[in-house]
């Protein structure tokens, strides 16, 4: 593991038995797991290169229990790491040796479905897909659809502000969230938002979303649900170069069309996927676009024609429109299986997640090719093309000494490049431990201090999920101090009236 985690607190480790006993009193039955073998499944999340057994695992079932666990840990100075389904790709749910791992999986009930107000109130351990399933009988669905939707939880989605292939048109988690119940590290229970729009006061709901479990533990979530579009059809378009495919994406948007989804794959990704899923992808192209249009049939047919024409103008060499729901799903099956497909052609892979201004795609892909040669590692690219979110998959073999490190350095170079061309380190997977030490690429000391002061407002002792997101943790007292130069300042030289 190349990322340093906060040093374990020997005093906490020394009183482990007492801590376990106290937690058992709060969460009775099988809710506390302290045996090494039983804790194994919790030692890592989706970023499996990093592993650490927690001090103890707690699986609470009620907000009251969460509140009591946190209040106890707060008073004893014990660190806490929240966990949903553990599918994070950035190590957000990586345990700490001296920390309580707070698993939210037992919060698995759907509390309310309100079709009149088009919302669902669910517990955070409910999976993303289960929300859509629960409302499907009335023709509704929950729009954000991460590829991990069978497994990942709504609580994890809130913590990571997860997206999906449809977020170009329907937004990320943050745009589909109306309310939350959260528990602060000191045990305080707060409600943000509700069934109405735009809560009073500061947008704390907006802050919690994407906060990677560092600000509070989410114990209830209110999301908006949408009526399913009448129809959806997808077009599969192949191009002789990624430049052409990129130009096509821009031309579609410039024509005023916002597709439900617009995904791109490069040659290595296409080949890996086709071998795995047999989706009928063309193998003689450099880049493949999936463009999905949804809405009433009249709209979809109209827009498909326009997209086909634009694709032709942009030099597409193949173009297939889905003729049935089965065929549309087959087009997507390939894309959605891209990660496991790449997993088949390589013992291990790292999934990167930078976002770039779309026009920079050819430049970034060319540079990545050069890096691939330099590091001697293969890379396959899948790309949320509509919004510039790039997922380079770096292939490596953990059993070859030095390869993981080389893959990580390759990944870091890619992300630095994303920032250099005007993009960002992570589009949807979060900073976690993985990109923590790259934060200074994007933010100054002052920027990071301002963010940490937000953390201090929620968790003054810094006990909730420390070691994630911020490269250096400062004490809140130190961050709060103001350095104002002594004496009165002269009036600045600014126009005044």
């Amino acid at each position: 593991m190349s990322v340093r985690m906060p040093a374990a607190d020997a005093a906490v480790l020394a009183k482990r038995d007492r801590i376990v006993a106290t937690l058992r009193a709060i969460v009775p039955g099988e809710g506390v797991i302290a045996g090494e073998r039983e804790m194994r499944p919790f030692e890592s999340d989706g970023l499996t290169a990093y592993r650490q057994l927690p001090m103890v695992v707690v699986l609470p079932e009620t907000t009251q229990q969460v509140s009591e666990v946190l209040a106890y840990c707060h008073s004893e100075g014990i660190k806490v790491v929240p966990r949903g389904a553990g599918t994070s790709l950035s190590g957000g749910a990586l345990p700490l040796e001296d920390g309580v791992l707070l698993g939210m999986a037992k919060f698995s009930r759907i509390r309310e479905i309100d079709f009149e107000n088009r919302i669902a109130v669910v517990e955070p351990g409910v999976t993303n897909l289960a929300v859509s399933t629960a409302v499907a009988h009335e023709g509704f669905y929950y729009a954000p659809d991460p590829s991990s939707q069978i497994a990942c939880t709504i609580g994890g989605n809130v913590a990571e502000n997860s997206g999906g292939v449809h977020c170009l048109k329907y937004g990320m988690t943050t745009n589909n969230l109306l309310g939350c119940e959260i528990v602060l590290m000191n045990g305080e229970v707060l409600r943000l938002g509700g069934k109405h729009l735009d809560a009073a006061g500061y947008d704390l709901l907006g802050l919690i979303t994407g906060s990677e479990g560092l600000l509070g533990v989410v114990t209830e979530v209110t999301v908006r649900i949408l009526k399913k579009p009448e129809t959806a059809r997808a077009v599969l378009v192949g191009f002789p170069s990624s430049e052409d495919a990129g130009a096509c994406v821009s031309a579609i948007i410039a024509a005023g069309i916002i597709p439900g989804g617009m995904e791109m794959m490069d040659r290595p990704a296409i080949h890996a996927v086709e071998e795995f899923v047999h989706a009928g992808y063309p193998l003689d192209v450099e880049a493949l676009l999936i463009v999905e249009l949804d809405g009433p049939a009249a709209e979809v047919d109209h827009l498909i024609e326009r997209v086909e024409a634009i694709a032709r103008d942009c030099g597409s060499t193949t173009c297939r429109v889905s003729q049935s729901e089965t065929e549309r799903l087959l087009f997507w099956a390939g894309r959605k299986a891209a990660f496991p497909a790449v997993g088949r052609i390589s013992p291990d892979y790292l999934c990167m997640d930078g976002t770039i201004p779309r026009a920079k795609l050819p430049e970034v892909l060319a540079a990545m090719k050069a890096m691939s040669e330099k590091f001697g590692l293969r890379v396959a690219n899948v790309f949320h093309a509509g919004d510039g979110n790039l997922h380079p998959l770096i292939l490596y073999d953990a059993n070859v000494p030095g390869e993981l490190e080389r893959a990580e350095n390759f990944g870091a170079d890619i992300l630095k490049l994303c920032v250099a061309v005007g993009g960002v380190l992570t589009g949807e997977h979060g900073v976690g431990v993985e990109k923590r030490d790259l934060m200074p690429e994007m933010f100054s000391e002052i920027d990071l201090a301002a963010q940490q002061r937000v953390k201090c407002a929620f968790d003054e002792k810094g006990l909730l999920n420390p070691g994630k997101v911020f490269p250096v943790l400062h004490r809140c007292a130190e961050l709060g101090r103001m350095h104002i130069s002594g004496g009165k300042l002269p009036f600045p030289d600014i126009p005044r009236f």
């Binding site: 009149e116 088009r118 409600r191 729009l197 704390l204 380190l425 992570t426």
Partner: protein
Amino acid sequence: MTEVLKPRDAKEVEDAVRWALGNDKALELAGQGTKRGIGRPSQTDATLDLSDLTGVTLYEPAELVLSARAGTPLREIEKLLDDNNQQLAFEPMDYGPLFGLEAGQGTIGGAIASNLSGPRRIKQGAARDHFLGVSAVTGRGETIKSGGRVVKNVTGYDMCKVLAGSWGTLAAMTDITIKVLPKPETESTVVVFGLDDAQACAAMAAAMGSSCDVSGAAHLPDHVASYFDGLPKPEAATVLRLEGVAPSVKHRQEALLALLRPFGPAAMLEARDSTALWRGIREVRPFTTAAAQARPLWRISTAPGQGHAVAARITPAAQMFYDWAGGLIWAAMPFADEPDSGSIRGALADLGGHATLVRAPAAVRAVADVFEPETAGLRALNKRVKDGFDPKGVLNPGRMWAGV
């Protein structure tokens, strides 16, 4: 007479805040001052007028992104977008006319700082949902940046969200990047006449629960209907807007008419009338008249299905209409010096939601809770957030709540 500081660039904004910090002064932040009447009147020593920070610095239509200095007039941005067949999808409302000011004076900074939105809020979100990146000077006199120019970004906390709707109490924004979207090719509106408030809420719920992709849903009771352009007759009107490409709008219009026929007699407004009508709704037209100026005005957000129940708890002498499928109520109270906070706050305590006293004489606003009072826990958390950005309270002190 308070001093007005008018910085010419971001560096001078920093200088101004540092001066205030070093001399224990408090600043009022203003874009164009169109929303000055909203919020608690704050006690400040000088105005930090940001209206000289102007200009669009980046606009790439195919990337759906625009950056501008915070004092850039919204009107200028909307014109530029319109020339490129694009728009601000959150449809920011113009508060000027509600305060007897000229329309079209607001700035992009003011729009973001007050998290503006319009009728399309129910489909496309508010300013917050389109706010991608920012550079701002905090109450510590330090320049921070957050976000970027790309839509998908989860790097670090989403500071844009907390600045949106903070009414200039956390930081003075100097540069803003927003997501822009294509303008719909055409629009039309389906109108159902003669419904009472409860029936109207049910009709709007049916429309919103259909796959017609409604982009505006309002109910205009008969006592306000005559104020709106575009309606064929001054009768209670429940109106539903459809936008998109022509064949799609036509198809959905027929589906919606069929769906709503059981509720009452329905009609259709073509694009021109539809545009005029929704502009009036967005600008809260009935309450901008000279006669209405003296009436305290509430903006109430609640669950759409509860809209009529909340309204039923407000005095019948109030004038009201509904936007956001019933979830947004504009209520003009009958007496200048009596905002009737008690009944409104009481209804929301029971039914959920929040209310802002948007307009009232300064003397009333000085003593009333202009924004929804928070629970003790939330109030304390808001205060800690404020302290992180502005520990000495130099930016718009007391604008949102006493102490914040």
